[in-house]
């Protein structure tokens, strides 16, 4: 990694922390909060690509592990990795990577704007939602002893918010690509 890559990775980890300052919404029937932080992996993937995006999520997890309260609601510490949301945390890393992979492959500079938007949206939905949920739900089902289908249904509450976040990530991704392209300069 170049120095610039390291700085970008740090920057997106910092963006995650800032997103964590937005108060989460805790729900009664599922021990996972609705949080602005799930926007982070999508943004990172769309803007700085697969490798750097995933690295920024790993860096955040390192800060969590040290015990710093950088997750929404001021949480942190190794205990989180044994808690019900641990699957999502891993999902953020893989999700950012997949989002980045798809964006790098399918978004081109000079493409029509709608095509770019569609590709970014697809990337964010597949990486930031599908892949992320896969990890999150599998772990949650394992933890709670409930069936995968059951936890999946319960977590449908995240979907409207996360779709909105995917749209935001797509718009931001296309705006940054237009204004200050970084995506295709590979790490």
């Amino acid at each position: 990694m170049t120095t610039r890559d390291i700085v970008l990775v740090a920057l997106f980890a910092a963006i995650m922390i800032v997103l964590g300052l937005i108060p989460p919404v805790t729900l009664g029937f599922i021990p996972v909060p609705i949080t602005a932080q799930s926007l982070g992996p999508m943004l990172a993937g769309c803007i700085i690509g697969a490798r750097r995006g995933a690295a920024s999520m790993l860096l955040l997890l390192l800060l969590v592990a040290i015990g710093l309260p950088v997750l929404s609601g001021g949480r942190g510490g190794l205990a989180v990795f044994a808690g019900p949301t641990a699957g999502y945390l891993v999902g953020w890393v893989v999700g950012a990577f997949v989002t980045g992979l798809i964006a790098e492959r399918f978004v081109r500079e000079g493409q029509k704007e709608v095509l770019q938007l569609a590709a970014f949206l697809g990337a964010a939905v597949i990486g930031g939602i599908l892949v992320n949920y896969l990890f999150g739900l599998a772990w949650l089902a394992h933890m709670s002893g409930k069936a995968f289908l059951e936890v999946s249904l319960a977590s449908a509450v995240f979907l409207p918010g996360d779709l909105l976040k995917a749209a935001i990530a797509a718009l931001a991704g296309r705006a940054v690509l237009a204004g200050y392209p970084l995506l295709h300069q590979r790490a």
Binding site: A175, V176, A178, G179, Y180
Partner: protein, 226 residues
Amino acid sequence: MDIVFTAATVSYAGRVALHPLSLTLSERRIGVVGLNGSGKTTMARLINGLVKPSGGAVTVDGLDTVKDEEAARGKTGFIFQNPQHQMILPILAEDIAFGLKNRGLDKAEIAARTAAILERFGISHLARRRVHELSGGETQLGAIASVLVTGPKLLILDEPTNQLDLRNRALIARTIAGLPEQVLVISHDLPLLDGFDRVLVFHEGRLAADAPPAQAIRAYREIAAC
């Protein structure tokens, strides 16, 4: 248009940045000079309500900048010390059009006004360029265009020639001279204020002099020399 300060004062976290200031500005060309940290930007931001007075009041064309915040703000346009900070969309024409979007204008009207203002500043060729790749002088012109397109009566420029070369300084000076709008300029680039109607000198949060350019700049030089 009259800008009236009535014992307006500003403190940040308990430290006074601007001591009570009472002043009426109605000239067409107003300059502001002073040492770093003397309160120039703070005073200018009071005028368009970006900074709220900790005491006293500021009115613009009779509108209070706190009570009638939105209406008062509509009367003034502000160019930041670093104009890149106020470019919101990535492409210049998009950015200029963006300022008009909330005003209930239709698409054709927005496009026409955008084209007209670009034309007025002779930067039509920059319409599709990336805002963050424009040169220093181009960025300044673009920022001025994006602010004037909404039709303010007073334009405030905070150190508009900071990063500029001699040629661009002359360009901005000519541009300012040609504006029909009322203008207030903060600057460390003293020749820019030649021919202005009135120049204010700030020192440690207080108005230290208020005179025509030559005399005010002499006062500023004395302060700087101490």
